[in-house]
Symmetry: C2
Subunit: 309 residues, 2 copies
């Protein structure tokens, strides 16, 4: 099925305890569409870049069968740039520099042939723009997944609430879930957030895994214990891309299939962090993904027969 994704396509400069990069390709929609394209070959991208953006990367998107019709190129302007430095624990980072550039005036337009996409992934972006994309769709997608962050909770709470009310699945991290719900307990926070509109909530806990909630059920996927987390940038977006890419390809949005999608998303994220930027995702093979899924199975599988069942 068709999957439309919107979000940033960017330059990142990253410093981790393991090294430092110059400008490399980043952005939420980059990670989402690359990750999703591993599962489904009908992915469309809506974003904006400047004249400084390498044609080579646009060709890489095309090679991965990502439709870049919706990727606006502002020749006279510069691509969005973010620079950050991670602490030892890799769970916290400082932003060193943010240059909005093309993003400052971004007015996303859904191409005509993507207005009836079956799946819609709203990468982290100003909530008003995310809502605008939903309104541009000619038919309501079967599933809308939305990612957001604490910055919008602090600066655009009303728009955020309106947008959240329109989506099916919200993905945020644990600190953001606590902030959005004003509840320390994640279980209580989840129920409060589900009452804001979404039928499903995914709470991303980084190295501590991810929780999938609906009103009655909860599913937990661990993060794979890795020898090294080299660069966590894009892990959340890669997770989301794997999640919705798997759902779009299997055409099944039951809770049981969402569990599988969470595991595939977690597997994709576990690759993402092994190298700087999108490098690991670009070179990924089916065998590698299958082996990693098997590692997840081995990691959590146990066999208890309850006497009374």
């Amino acid at each position: 099925m068709s999957l439309l994704t919107i979000g940033t396509v960017a330059f990142d400069a990253i410093e981790t305890p393991f090294g430092k990069t110059d400008k490399i390709i980043g952005g939420a929609a980059t990670y989402i569409s690359l990750s999703a394209s591993f599962f489904t070959k009908n992915v469309g991208l809506v974003s904006v870049v400047g004249g400084d953006f390498p044609e080579q990367t646009i060709n890489m998107f095309k090679d991965k069968k990502i439709d870049v019709t919706g990727l606006e190129i502002q020749k006279e302007n510069k691509t969005f740039f973010w620079s950050g430095k991670y602490h030892t624990d890799m769970n916290t980072r400082d932003t060193i520099d943010t240059q909005l550039n093309v993003l400052a005036t971004f007015n996303p337009i859904v191409p005509q042939n993507w207005k009836n996409a079956d799946f819609l992934m709203l990468g982290n972006l100003m909530p008003k723009l995310q809502l605008d994309i939903i309104k541009q769709m000619s038919t309501r997608p079967k599933l809308i997944v939305m990612d957001t962050m604490n910055f919008w909770m602090e600066t655009a709470a009303d728009d955020l609430a309106k947008t959240i009310a329109e989506v099916d699945v919200l993905t945020i991290n644990d600190a953001e879930a606590r902030q959005l719900a004003n509840e320390y307990s994640l279980v209580k926070a989840a129920q409060k957030i589900l009452s804001m509109g979404p039928k499903y909530l995914i709470i991303k806990k980084g190295e501590h895994g991810a929780l999938l909630f609906n009103k009655d059920q909860v599913f937990f996927a661990p993060a794979l214990p890795l020898e090294e987390v080299f660069d966590p940038t894009g892990a959340g977006d890669t997770f989301a891309g794997g999640f919705i890419g798997y759902l779009a390809e299997t055409r099944d949005i039951s809770f049981d299939n969402m569990k599988r999608a969470v595991i595939f998303g977690s597997a994709m994220a576990s690759f993402c962090v092994e190298k700087f930027g999108t490098q690991r995702l670009e070179e990924l093979t089916q065998d590698e993904v299958d082996n990693r899924i098997q590692e997840f199975i081995n990691l959590v599988q146990f066999d208890i027969s309850l006497v009374n069942e």
Copy 2:
């Protein structure tokens, strides 16, 4: 099979965001033996208390079929006392007061009829005393599990290393694993710690679950997402008690059975934190435990068939 446990039996005074207690019954061996006694009725306790310790609690141990022959009562002295206050996140706490009392001169003696116990649980205590207990055993137990903490890494590193080298399973928390191995990556830390002697390592991550490592395998058990964690005191000891109690009762120390034991231990810990002190453990029923195990199964169970397998 017979299970001998050693550790503190204490008075605790606890403050959490949910309330405050006066002196209540606590101590590692209290939680361990109570939790283990749910699974196996052949538990012996080696510890020390003062003349101020309530006979009622000793009778409660006896009701749970815990053999208190090894519980020394120093009539002229006072029971070990610890007082602490938890922060909002419940993962960190400040010690307000520690009164060693009887513990200052504790010289544990294994009763004659417990010297050939099949399973030995060394609760957190001065490593020299833990090692002394191992030496008092007339036959080497089938399995020795040891808990310890950062305090001994800082003050008794040599004794700790000697004791760790003699045990089969070491249980510590994630910060302690990093400290003991001097490695930030838990995967690397685990391999380093396993090279110090133990065949198995359990890294307890509190609300983020627990990891079981041997040289070739890793298993992860989540913590159950709870609405409220009321009082985390004793959760790690309750986990250890459930773990070794289940192993002792099933007489099976394979990795597959250790996975089950980790899940049972996690289930017991999830009850422990629901009320202050040992209250919840004392009143626990088989149905409640079965239902909770089912919740763990629902929480992590997924069904992915890999095409190439």
